[in-house]
Amino acid sequence: MGGIVDLADDIRSGRTSSEEAVTACMEHVDLHDRKLESFLSRDRTYAVKRARSIDEARARGDGLGLLAGVPLAVKDNLCTTFSRTTCGSKMLGRFESIYNAHVVQQLKSAGAVIVGKTNLDEFAMGSSTEHSAFAATRNPWNRLCVPGGSSGGSAAAVAARLVPGALGSDTGGSIRQPASFCGVVGLKPSYGRVSRYGLVAFASSLDQIGPITTDVRDAALLLQIIAGHDDRDSTSVNAAVPDYPAAIDRSLKGTRVGVAREYFGEGLNTEVADAVHAALDAMRRAGAVIVDIHLPHMKYAVACYYLIATAEASSNLARFDGVHYGHRTGSPADIVNLYAASRGEAFGAEVKRRIMLGTYALSAGYYEAYYLKALKVRTLIKRDFDAALQQVDVIASPVSPTTAFAIGERLEDPLAMYLADIYTISANLAGICAISVPCGFDSSGLPIGLQLMGPSFGEEKILAVAHQYQQLTDHHKRVPPDFE
């Protein structure tokens, strides 16, 4: 299956129909997804019916949206009135949303056909998609390896070309890290660029929704559709949405690309480092100017993040109480037992661990030492990025210190799992935008990702640099051998 822009053109011009495209997509998923388990649910009847209605609209000569007839998938923490919305949790195993997330409405208004919901770490808490209560998604490049996470289902489905694009969510790297592990493009927009209405909240000051696609051109198009203000999320900023697809043509000549030594220190796999340096060389040859920058507080990002994110999560997940929706325990003795037993039965180990850590960090006697301290360190990290982005247009780094790790390898060691996000977390803390693009493969054939970070509401800059880089290389054109 080709990319989103090309497929939309083919459908618009009548070279293919939406029904053909959607049917082919669903057959592909039926055939291959047993090997990957990237989808949690899919509704063929719904999808085909919707595809036909798009084809009929075209036949009538109605105006068609930018995504008319294109099959896409969304992460299963985005509310949809079709299919279930489980968040990969037993807590919401049978939950059927009564409304669509803003981004789902936007995709539908643009004519997209959402064919299914993709797997994730439970409530988006994890870096491997192994913490899903339903299945561990596998990496299409090597099925003994994780696809990354938490948007591992979306990244694996796009990498295996089961769908041309998908949405994910990113709280500390959950779009970029799986995109990197699976060899596809993942964009985390600036905080406030996309409405979070209908995204089941994990950490509200960090969460953003963004696209996962095979190339940057498609990511720019999806961002165009989902960006913008929405009254139902008061943190979505009322700022004009630029023409992202047009912005990507800007040349690399004279673009200042910042490189911080803090991203190339201890723990970074040498093959990953070499691939990122090769990408920087390619950009330099195309006219970019590489500038040394300094981000002195980078090393504190993981500690800062895991206090803030878990504190916010402990508060957000208080809503799962066995009363209004979700799992309820069998015969509760009293109301406190109803809450505690329902939650104890339905949450998985990682979600419990994070609720516990966050509750502790907010509890009497520890609030100042942990939570408030982390908020202050967040200020220092944000200042580092604000200062650096005065000097340069974008900052380049690896996405993750390693390529995809083996299934099971880090399950018993939460801290090792958290360190997979060491390079991605800062962008969420600072609220800036960042993108992951494929920049090579390691000696065992696993993809390596390059991260480009830009200023808040500076998506045009990172999209342009990423797209120009993709004109110089063909890493993003490679397809996992079993899925060609």
Binding site: F95, H324, F347, K373, V377
Partner: protein, 102 residues
Amino acid sequence: MASKKLDEQAVRHVAHLARLNVSEAEVRLFAEQLSTILDYVEQLGELDTDDVPPTAHPLPLSNVFREDAVTASRPVEEALSNAPEREGAFFKVPKVIDQDSA
């Protein structure tokens, strides 16, 4: 920074605060794992942050107000459609106030 290893008693206390039942096996596991994580976050103590304001949010947003206008709300049947237990137009829960806790 005032951290100490989280013991099993503290884990039980935090689990109660979070209204989260945990098994004895989980208490032991979390005591160990959370202590490791708390040891790791100790490094924040290296930084002098006395004069640094906290950042709770990446955007300089203040309150966002809307017009106080009457709009349509969700039909009751829709709002109750995922309720684990209901009675009439209500979510049903065990009795909240009894003689002991009143």
